[in-house]
């Protein structure tokens, strides 16, 4: 358990358990009424941005697939697996599935293939209505060019695996509305064989496999980048060392490694404590200390990731990877 978790665990134990008391003292019907009237401003559909790519008029095939009552572990969206009222399977490669409850609210989301997992990465449709989620998915598909020359196929079935006609029509209408606004093709439905193939492939692969392969790929990329940064920093240290002086107060004229210094700062968003047109020996002395510290921190972060091989810690591993990338590798906006 890391230090941060230890502190949070302490605070959690100290905090009183007032959940029931609080829940009983609010009017939930009133909350629902107040929030349903609050209008959320929607951005207009960005026709030119998205649909110039999709103008090659793909037929959008809508096939709404209701989730068979299979209890699956893992997947995005969290929560315990449970039987959904229906699910929407969307395939355009990526292939994804959204489960809905009886109130048309997304309860879970799954990537059905590796591209589907990537597509859903950092997206969270859970809690959205079917309209909101459909619009968001269509936007993202269009934005990333998935609709270009491709048919989007969507499938809906009920909990017993039968065609859910009324829901299918409703979702078809929703999808068509957004596609029409974007100047795209028509809506049609995925056939039984295609739907079965998707489901079978998904079941065979086991839900977590795509996520794991995604994380593995990401991990290798991040570790490569970390090694690259370490090498760059060591190189920079060796270049500036001859000019570093603990008490050097005079600016160094025509510093040979100036381009490497500015290049490093640009690439990694590194901020120097000095102006690059007036660098002193002391500045470089301090810089070497900072860079060595940075290398130490970087190697520690890498070690934590390389040590984290436990399958149950995939979510923690991904978090560590993000932090490593965020802290050490990429320039902040």
């Amino acid at each position: 358990m890391n230090a941060g978790k230890k502190i949070r665990k302490e605070l959690n134990c100290a905090a009183p358990d007032l959940a029931d008391k609080i829940a009983e003292s609010v009017n939930w019907d009133k909350i629902a009424a107040e929030n349903s009237t609050a209008k959320k401003e929607k951005k207009p559909f960005e026709k030119s941005f998205v649909w110039s790519l999709a103008a090659a008029c793909c037929a959008v095939v809508l096939c709404l697939g209701i989730l068979l009552p299979i209890y699956l572990s893992g997947g995005e969206g969290g929560g315990k697996p449970r039987v959904s009222a229906y699910s929407v399977t969307i395939q355009v490669n990526p292939s994804i599935r959204l489960d809905f409850d009886e109130h048309d609210i997304v309860t879970r989301q799954y990537g059905l293939n590796e591209d589907g997992v990537l597509f859903l990465h950092k997206e969270n449709y859970v809690g959205q209505t079917v309209d909101e989620a459909t619009e968001a998915v269509v936007r993202k598909l269009g934005k990333h060019g998935f609709l270009k020359g491709n048919a989007v196929k969507v499938c809906v079935k009920d909990g017993k695996g039968n065609d859910y006609d009324s829901k299918q029509s409703a979702v078809a209408k929703t999808m068509e509305k957004y596609l029409t606004a974007l100047g795209s093709g028509s809506v049609s439905f995925l056939d039984e064989d295609e739907f079965k193939k998707l489901e079978d492939d998904f079941k065979d692969k086991n839900l977590g496999e795509y996520e794991k392969s995604l994380i593995e790929r990401y991990k290798n990329t991040v570790l490569e980048l970390a090694k690259e940064k370490e090498a760059t920093m060591r190189n920079l240290i060796s270049l500036v060392s001859p000019y570093a002086e603990k008490d050097g107060k005079k600016p160094i004229p025509n510093l040979p490694c100036l381009s490497e210094l500015t290049g490093f700062a640009q690439k990694y968003g590194y901020e120097y404590d000095f102006e690059t047109d007036e660098i002193t020996g002391k500045d470089l002395y301090e810089l070497i200390k900072d860079l060595n510290k940075e290398i130490e921190d970087l190697l520690e972060a890498v070690e934590e990731i390389e040590d984290g091989k436990d399958e149950d810690d995939f979510k923690d591993l991904l978090k560590d990877l993000y932090e490593l990338a965020e802290d050490h590798l990429f320039e902040e906006d």
Partner: protein, 178 residues
């Protein structure tokens, strides 16, 4: 965690009471920390805790799903605990002074959090502030950097340095209690 909070807030906005337990569990430690470091009476602190959540729930339409809902919740907690503190300031100050032998800078609720208490004692003020923002309140380092008015790279370095110190303090905190 922000993603999960947003999912839960969507449920709460629909009047789904069942989402509240998890929401409370995920947020209570940060909210309790904000309130209990200001109020010395546990019962009063619990009352303010309840009022904070009730206010939050009754003003859900103000919660921006694109932003960080924790920030809004913590603001309510801070304001309510400050109001309560001002109401009872004289009374609380003398009680606290008595309990802590005249020292007003150590607050008893941290006794429930020995590691955090030790961090407050041993870390520099700006290190502890960073620890609060990132670990206790859950702000990302980019957000913490903006709040502190510092470059992100500086905050990142300080963060790792602080966590190293906290790891060492953990041994001290829990060895002393044995």
């Amino acid at each position: 965690m922000t993603g999960r909070l947003i999912e839960l807030i969507r449920r709460l906005k629909r009047g789904d009471k069942n989402g509240f337990e998890e929401f409370y569990r995920l947020t209570k430690s940060a909210v309790w920390y904000v309130i209990s470091r200001k109020l010395f009476d546990r019962q009063k602190a619990e009352d303010v805790m309840q009022e904070t959540y009730v206010k939050f729930l009754n003003s859900l339409q103000k919660v921006d799903e694109e932003g960080n809902p924790m920030a809004y919740l913590l603001t309510i907690a801070k304001n309510k605990s400050l109001d309560e503190y001002k109401k009872n300031a004289k009374e609380q100050l003398s009680d606290e002074m008595e309990e802590h032998g005249g020292r007003a800078d150590f607050y008893s609720p941290l006794a429930d959090s020995p590691l955090l208490c030790l961090c407050k004692e041993k870390l520099a003020a700006e290190e502890f502030e960073l620890l609060e923002l990132t670990v206790v309140f859950g702000y990302r380092r980019v957000e913490a950097a903006k709040m502190l008015g510092k470059p992100v790279s500086t905050v990142n370095r300080q963060y790792h340095s602080v966590l190293k110190k906290v790891k060492k303090l953990y041994k001290e905190a829990y060895d002393e209690r044995r």
